[in-house]
Symmetry: C2
Subunit: 127 residues, 2 copies
């Protein structure tokens, strides 16, 4: 996998797994890739994946079954939605707004952004 240089790898792995869950590519109760497998896939050390999984376990996103592996927790999706939404609105959005103001980006520059938002207006709210 291609990692962003500015963000810690173990956080990017967490983000990737969280994304898989939010997108429904890994379902509730399903087993996620083993620490060793994912490490090989992502060309990263076991311990780094282990750190991501430990973090997600703390966050209640995944659960461990001894000797078997990690599984998507029952309310992982709702948990993640709430957590990510809050992080986005509270931590990321202010910085985005600030940049838009300073760079004077208008509707034309951000046409795609507005379209993307509006295409969600008729979406059914996820659980």
């Amino acid at each position: 996998m291609e990692f962003n240089e500015t963000k810690n790898i173990f956080l990017q792995i967490r983000d990737w797994v969280a994304d898989q869950i939010l997108q429904g590519k890994i379902l509730t109760g399903e087993k996620i890739p083993s620490v060793r497998d994912l490490a090989v896939d992502m060309e990263v050390n076991r311990n780094t994946v282990m750190r991501s999984y430990a973090l997600m376990e703390e966050e209640g996103i995944i659960e461990n079954k001894r000797g078997i592996g990690f599984f998507v927790a029952a309310d992982a999706k709702r948990n993640l939605l709430k957590r990510q939404k809050q992080t986005f609105l509270n931590d990321e959005l202010p910085s985005i707004l600030h940049q838009i103001e300073v760079l004077k980006l208008n509707s034309e520059d951000l046409q795609i952004l507005i379209q993307t938002i509006q295409s969600n207006d008729h979406e059914i709210k996820p659980d």
Copy 2:
């Protein structure tokens, strides 16, 4: 200054100075704080500020006058605008769009964002 834990300090200092310039709080040709002074102000080591300034010099944002200090380069503002705009649109926006899609954020959730963008529609484009 309060630093974000996830981003390198010398990059955050660069961002801060760049912001001061874009906002017109430091004018073209004006002297920026000395390496030592800013280090004290931000409660950071001299070398860390030095690294930020060296980076900005490479980027053509500031210039050094020996024995005197660093000054805002002639075309710093235009340079910065171009650079930041490109970084935002190419590197940050895709990730933002992705989050909006996955989290199904709509016009209501992002009301402020849309307002901010639209308030730039009647702005005169900066140089």
